[in-house]
C-alpha cells in the first residue's frame, strides 16, 4: 500500500482529534481526542516502520532484520506514556468534578484572575 | 499480496466448519453447564435437583431456554435502547471469541487432508485471550449503564473495577509460565507439556493465582459482586428480561467453559493424555486425536465441576476484601512467583 495513503489517513485522524479539542467543552471528550491524536501518530509510525523495512530489505537482505523495529518500539512506549497519562489525567478530572461538579473546561479558568 | 482467487478455499471451508462446530459445541456445553450447576447445587445441599423434564431431568436446559424465549421482552422506557441491546450481544460475542485460539486436539486426517483442530494458531495466542477477556467487561458496563438503574450502574462499576484489578494478577501469574515455555502460542505450549511434564508441576502457585483470577474474571462466586442478588438486586442485568437476560447468563457459562479450557491448556497439558506416550502410538491416527479431545473435555469438565463446587461452598467476598485480596495478596504473590521462576531458570542455565 503506498505510504501516502497511510500518511493521509493518519493526518485526517489527527485533524479530527484537533477539531475535537477545539469544539468540545467536556474535559473527558477533549482527553479522548488527545488519545485519538496519539493513535494516529502511532499508526503513522508503524506504517513508516514497514516502509523502512521494505526499503532496507530491498537494499540488503542481511541488515534488514532489525530495520524499522525502533519505530514499533516507539509506538509501544507511546502507549505506555498514554496509559500513565490517562491514569493521572482522569484522577485530575475526577478531582475537578468533585470540586466544581462539572467537567466543563470553561469552569477551569480561575487561575486567570 | 493475496489475490481473492488465490485464497485456499478448502482451508477456508475447513476453518468455517471448525468454527461452526466449536461455537455449537460451546453453546451446547454452556447449556448443560446450567443443568450441571443446578444438579451439583442440589447434591451439595442434600437435594436431588431437577428431575422432571426427561429422564434424570436432562431436558431441563431445553425447558429453561424455551421459557426464556417465550417470556415477554421488556425494554425500560428510560433506558438507552441501542446500548441496551448492544450490552448482551457484546457479552456473548466476547465470550465466544476466545475459543478461536484454543487447541481442541491434535491433527486429524479426513479425506486426505490434515486438519488442525484449532481455529487459528496465532503466535500471540495468550495475549489474544487477554485482550478478549479485557474486552469482556464492556458487555457488563454497557448493560449496567444503559438500564438507567442505580443498582445496575453500581454493579457495573463494581464489575469493571474487579475485572481490571484481577487481570493484573492474572497476567503476572502467566509471565512466569511464559518464561518457562518461551512461546505465546497455545499449541506450542501444549506440545512442550506433552514432551515433559504438565506446567502445573512447575508452577503450582502460578496456577493457583490464575485460577482465583479466572473465578473473578468469570464473575463466579466468591467474586460475583457484580451480580450480587441480595445487595444489588441481581446486579447489572436487573432490568433485562427474556432472551437478553438469557444471553448474559449464557455468556457467563460460556466464559466458564472457555476459561476452563484455557486453564487445562496452559497448566494441565491440553489434549495430552496423562501417563501415555502419544509419539509411540502415531499409527493410531485419528483415534489418537479423538482420545486427546476426550481427555481435554474431561479436564475441562473437572474444572467446571471445581468452579461449581467452589460456588456452592464459599460465600461472597465483601468488596474491600475482594480488592485487598487482589491488590495486596495476589499481585505480590504473582510477582514473587515471577522472580523465583526467573532466578531458577537463570540458575539452571548456568
Amino acid at each position: 500500500m503506498p505510504i501516502q495513503y497511510y500518511i493521509i489517513l493518519a493526518s485526517a485522524l489527527f485533524c479530527i482529534g484537533v477539531v475535537g479539542v477545539l469544539i468540545r467543552r467536556n474535559a473527558i471528550i477533549i482527553f479522548m481526542c488527545i488519545e485519538l491524536m496519539l493513535n494516529s501518530v502511532n499508526l503513522m509510525l508503524v506504517a513508516f516502520s514497514k516502509m523502512h523495512y521494505g526499503l532496507g530489505s530491498a537494499d540488503n537482505k542481511i541488515v534488514a532484520v532489525n530495520i524499522g523495529t525502533d519505530a514499533q518500539l516507539f509506538v509501544f512506549f507511546i502507549m505506555v506514556v498514554a496509559a500513565a497519562e490517562v491514569s493521572v489525567g482522569l484522577a485530575i478530572i475526577v478531582m475537578m468534578y468533585r470540586n466544581v461538579h462539572s467537567t466543563d473546561v470553561n469552569f477551569l479558568n480561575r487561575l486567570k484572575n | 499480496m493475496i489475490n481473492l482467487l488465490a485464497i485456499d478455499w478448502l482451508l477456508l471451508l475447513e476453518k468455517l466448519i471448525l468454527i461452526a462446530i466449536v461455537i455449537l459445541a460451546s453453546l451446547f456445553i454452556a447449556m448443560y453447564e446450567t443443568y450441571a450447576e443446578r444438579k451439583i447445587a442440589a447434591f451439595m445441599q442434600d437435594r436431588i435437583g431437577p428431575n422432571r423434564a426427561g429422564p434424570l431431568g436432562i431436558l431441563q436446559p431445553l425447558a429453561d431456554g424455551m421459557k426464556l424465549f417465550f417470556k415477554e421482552e421488556i425494554i425500560p422506557n428510560s433506558s438507552n435502547k441501542i446500548l441496551f441491546v448492544l450490552g448482551p450481544s457484546l457479552a456473548m460475542l466476547t465470550a465466544m471469541m476466545t475459543c478461536a485460539v484454543v487447541p481442541w486436539g491434535g491433527d486429524i486426517n479426513l479425506f486426505g487432508r490434515t486438519i488442525s483442530l484449532q481455529i487459528a494458531d496465532v503466535n500471540i495466542g495468550i495475549l489474544y485471550v487477554f485482550a478478549i477477556v479485557s474486552l469482556g467487561i464492556y458487555g457488563v458496563m454497557i448493560g449496567g449503564w444503559s438500564s438507567n438503574n442505580k443498582y445496575s450502574l453500581l454493579a457495573a462499576l463494581r464489575g469493571a473495577s474487579q475485572v481490571i484489578s484481577y487481570e493484573l494478577a492474572m497476567g503476572l501469574s502467566l509471565i512466569a509460565l511464559l518464561m518457562m515455555s518461551g512461546s505465546l502460542s497455545l499449541k506450542t505450549i501444549v506440545a512442550q507439556q506433552m514432551q515433559t511434564h504438565w506446567n502445573v508441576l512447575y508452577q503450582p502457585l502460578g496456577f493457583l493465582i490464575f485460577f482465583v483470577c479466572a473465578l473473578a474474571e468469570c464473575n463466579r462466586t466468591p467474586f460475583d459482586l457484580s451480580e450480587a442478588e441480595n445487595e444489588l438486586n441481581m446486579g447489572y442485568h436487573q432490568e433485562y428480561s427474556s432472551m437478553k437476560l438469557g444471553f448474559y447468563l449464557f455468556a457467563e457459562y460460556v466464559n466458564m467453559f472457555i476459561s476452563s479450557a484455557i486453564m487445562a491448556t496452559l497448566f494441565f497439558g491440553g489434549y495430552d493424555i496423562p501417563f501415555f506416550n502419544e509419539s509411540a502410538h502415531t499409527d493410531w491416527g485419528n483415534w489418537l486425536a479423538l482420545l486427546g479431545i476426550a481427555c481435554f473435555m474431561l479436564k475441562i469438565a473437572i474444572f467446571i465441576f471445581l468452579f461449581m463446587w467452589i460456588r456452592w461452598t464459599v460465600p461472597r467476598f465483601r468488596y474491600d476484601q475482594l480488592m485487598n485480596l487482589g491488590w495486596k495478596k495476589l499481585i505480590p504473590l504473582a510477582l514473587a512467583n515471577m522472580l523465583i521462576t526467573g532466578a531458577v531458570i537463570l540458575w539452571l542455565k548456568k
Binding site: M1, P2, I3, Y6, L9, S11, L13, F14, C15, I16, V18, V19, G20, L22, I23, R24, R25, N26, I28, L36, N39, V46, A47, F48, S49, K50, G54, T69, D70, Q72, L73, F76, F77, M79, V80, V81, A82, A84, E85, V86, S87, V88, A91, I92 | M1, I2, L83, I124, L127, Y128, S134, L135, I137, Y138, M141, I142, W145, L157, E167, L184
Partner: protein, 167 residues
C-alpha cells in the same frame, strides 16, 4: 482490488467515520464507544501491516484498559447528553475550519514530497512486528527506556492515588 486493499479501505473508512462520530455524539458514553471502534480499526491496520504485537497491545492497553477507565469515570459522574456543555456555534465553526486547514496543509505537504510517494509500506510480510523480534530489541538495546517507563508508570500510579484521595 485484492483482499488486503479491500480491508485497507474498509478499515480506513471505519476509522474516519467513527472518529467523526466521537465528535458528533452528544452523549459521552457514545463517544467512548465510537472511540473504541476507532481503536479496533487501527488495530486492524496493524494486523494488515503484520505488526501483531502492537495489535494486541493496542487492544489490551487502549480498548481494554484506557477506555474502560474513561467509561468508568463517565459512569461514575453520570454524565449524559443533558449535562453536556456546548460551545456556541461560532467557535465550533472556527474549530472545524481550523482543523480543515490543518488537514489541507498536511495533505498538500504529502503531495509535494515527491520522493516519499514512491515508497510503499509492506503489507502482510516482514516479521519485524512479531513479538520475538521486538522483545529481543526491547530487552537489549532499549532496556534503559523500558525500565524508565516502568518508573514512569509507578510514579503515575502513585500520583493518581495521591490526587484521587480525599483529604
Amino acid at each position: 482490488m485484492t483482499a488486503t486493499e479491500i480491508l485497507f479501505w474498509f478499515l480506513s473508512i471505519l476509522a474516519l467515520f467513527s472518529a467523526l462520530m466521537v465528535l458528533i455524539s452528544k452523549n459521552p458514553v457514545h463517544s467512548v464507544l465510537w472511540l473504541i471502534v476507532v481503536f479496533f480499526a487501527i488495530s486492524g491496520h496493524y494486523i494488515l501491516l503484520n505488526a501483531q504485537f502492537l495489535t494486541i497491545v493496542n487492544l489490551i492497553v487502549y480498548a481494554g484498559a484506557i477506555m474502560v477507565l474513561f467509561l468508568f469515570v463517565i459512569m461514575l459522574m453520570n454524565l449524559n447528553s443533558n449535562t453536556e456543555p456546548q460551545r456556541n456555534s461560532l467557535i465550533k465553526l472556527a474549530g472545524v475550519i481550523g482543523g480543515c486547514l490543518l488537514l489541507t496543509v498536511m495533505v498538500s505537504a504529502v503531495r509535494s514530497a515527491g520522493e516519499v510517494s514512491n515508497n510503499r509500506a509492506l503489507m502482510n510480510e516482514g516479521d519485524i512486528g512479531l513479538i520475538q523480534n521486538l522483545g529481543k530489541i526491547l530487552f537489549t538495546q532499549y532496556v534503559v527506556p523500558f525500565e524508565l517507563s516502568s518508573v514512569l508508570f509507578l510514579s503515575a500510579m502513585v500520583g493518581a492515588v495521591v490526587i484521587g484521595k480525599k483529604e
